[in-house]
């Protein structure tokens, strides 16, 4: 009975409801975009977008704007720069990614410093980098859902041409696929997914939500569609489970809750390790690109 009562209380709490909606949306989008990202070996690029987006989050905090807009603006800009540079060689891409990431984080450091002098509050760094799910304003929900829908639509549209052009650019061109437009669209979807995840678990932890469920699913699933479904289930489970545990943790250490992002990331990490153990017991053919086509 008391368990039921506490569950009712949990769901009646407005910040919790907002967190469940935004977090759930972020987990779904990340699962779909994440599978494509892991299969194309773009984990580092996804992580770099997240790091750069932290500068946008800091700017939004400094100026008092909607944080999602801040994350979104800079993530999209960084995706644009990395696509525009047109570097195809994997090694050069990695270097450029690293440099963009470093410059973005440096900018975030500066903006956070300004925020702490202007608003004389030092909580901004924590909120932007590590998330503050229970302080997401309810007004963000419509925008977050719109961003999620856009990301899902774009990824559904470019899914097939993206796979073909990852296999062979010439083949894609022969089929009439506009390779650059497709890869730009995927980068945009990645930026949308990353900014949603940044709202949820914080900019530099968003990598866990983007890469973790997808990588875990790809270890056990036999087909990409199954991998997306499994990744979505893992992401949702970890996010909602994490929110619940964080809510409960107020009773473990009286007066102070544990950070919700910690629980989400830990659950994702546990799912990845479990998937690895399962994959060892039941070996299967790898989902992904044939070995000759890999970037490294």
């Amino acid at each position: 009975m008391s368990v039921l009562l506490s569950a009712v209380e949990f769901l009646h709490n407005e910040p919790v409801r907002v967190a469940l909606i935004v977090g759930g949306g972020a987990a779904l989008v990340c699962a779909v975009v994440g599978v494509a990202t892991v299969m194309q070996r773009q984990s580092f690029a996804g992580h770099a977008l997240a790091d750069v987006s932290s500068a946008g989050g800091s700017a939004a905090y400094l100026l008092g704007l909607n944080p999602l807009l801040g994350f979104l603006g800079l993530a999209a800009a960084a995706a644009g720069v990395m696509e525009w540079s047109e570097i195809r060689e994997a090694r050069e891409r990695d270097l450029l990614t690293g440099v963009v990431l470093g410059a973005g984080l440096g900018l975030a450091a500066l903006l956070l410093y300004f925020a702490s002098t202007v608003h004389s509050a030092s909580g901004a760094a924590v909120a932007v980098l590590f998330g503050s799910m229970f302080t997401i304003p309810a007004a963000v929900v419509p925008l977050a859902l719109a961003v999620a829908l856009t990301a899902l639509t774009v990824s559904a549209l470019v899914h097939r041409p993206l796979l073909v052009s990852a296999l062979s650019v010439d083949l894609a061109r022969a089929q009439g696929i506009r390779v650059r437009a497709v890869s730009l669209a995927h980068a945009l979807a990645l930026a949308l997914a990353v900014s949603l995840a940044a709202m949820t678990v914080g900019a530099i932890l968003s990598t866990a939500l983007l890469i973790g469920p997808a990588a875990a699913a790809l270890r056990v699933a036999r087909r990409p569609a199954a991998a997306v479904a499994l990744a979505a289930a893992i992401g949702l489970g970890a996010t909602w489970g994490g929110i619940y545990l964080a809510y409960e943790s107020f009773y473990w250490t009286p007066g102070r809750g544990w950070p919700v992002s910690f629980f989400i990331v830990a659950l994702v990490f546990a799912a990845y390790l479990t998937a690895g153990a399962l994959a060892v017991r039941w070996p299967r053919r790898a989902v992904g690109l044939p070995s000759g086509c890999e970037a490294h």
């Binding site: 990614t97 440099v99 973005g104 990598t207 990490f269 490294h296």
Partner: protein, 264 residues
């Protein structure tokens, strides 16, 4: 700027720059950019745990760097390397956040650990960092030839020096040690900029590996010294200047190699 309380900062920054430039050269040659970014973040919970337990920060950082190397090499078995780095990085950061939140010293020490804190360096830290730099440079000197050869051709290196797996582990350990010592100064998030920017620029200016290594060290020293001077003058975070100046190095190198490519 050169007052007594700044002496520690200049000393430590110089050591960090020398080691960072040297290790960065190999990071760029071996395409280990993501691992070099993940390892300092993996050391971050070490500093948080040290502040929770009240022990020397450097000890926690070095210990967790070792844990990070083991975690990444274990996770990447039969798996994509960048996925292993990404997940370890996120988990380590989350763990660090939890530890800091439990210790109660949340927001302020978090900012310092992530973005660097030049002025708070103590005398014991200077000695610790000197010891770690000597160790890192010695290891690097010992392994320089096989590491370089392996980045050119894995088969050749295996034929000349034996197993590649242990070499990869040793290299990650060097990266981990050098980043751990740099965390208190430049911050966990931006150590990596210091490794990648100067080294990638150096590569564009010369074809000879040892000359590029030297140039990388010199550029990295220039970046760190300018960053500290600018921090002193403006009071802005040192991480910002390190990130921006490293990016400028990269852009200069890129321009140079594009121009050279157009000329030939």
């Amino acid at each position: 700027m050169f007052a007594a309380f700044m002496l520690h900062a200049w000393l430590v920054a110089t050591m960090v720059a020398i080691v960072g430039g040297a290790v960065g050269f190999f990071v760029v040659a071996r395409r280990a950019a993501f691992a070099a970014h993940a390892l300092p973040l993996g050391a971050f919970p070490g500093a948080a745990a040290a502040s929770l337990l009240g022990v020397n920060e450097l000890l926690g950082l070095a210990l967790f760097s070792g844990v990070g190397v083991i975690a990444i090499t274990q996770l990447q078995r039969g798996e994509r390397r960048e996925v292993a780095s990404a997940l370890w990085l996120a988990f380590a950061l989350a763990l660090g956040v939890l530890l800091l939140s439990l210790s109660g010293a949340y927001a302020q020490s978090l900012y310092g650990l992530l973005f660097g804190e030049v002025l708070g360096i103590s005398r014991t830290q200077v000695f610790g960092i000197a010891l770690l730099s000597a160790l890192t440079l010695a290891l690097l000197a010992l392994l320089a030839r096989p590491l370089l050869l392996e980045s050119l051709s894995g088969d050749l290196a295996a034929a000349a020096f034996g197993r590649a797996r242990s070499l990869e582990g040793a290299f990650l350990l060097i990266v981990a040690l050098s980043t751990a010592m740099a965390v208190p100064v430049v911050g966990a998030l931006l150590v990596f900029s210091l490794m990648v920017g100067p080294a990638s620029a150096a590569r564009a200016y010369t074809n000879r590996p040892w000359r590029a290594l030297l140039l990388s060290v010199l550029l990295s020293m220039a970046v760190v010294w300018s960053a500290i001077a600018l921090t002193y003058l403006t009071d802005w975070p040192v991480g910002f200047f390190v990130g921006a100046l490293s990016a400028m190095c990269y852009v200069a190198g890129r321009r140079r190699s594009l121009l050279a490519g157009a000329g030939s």
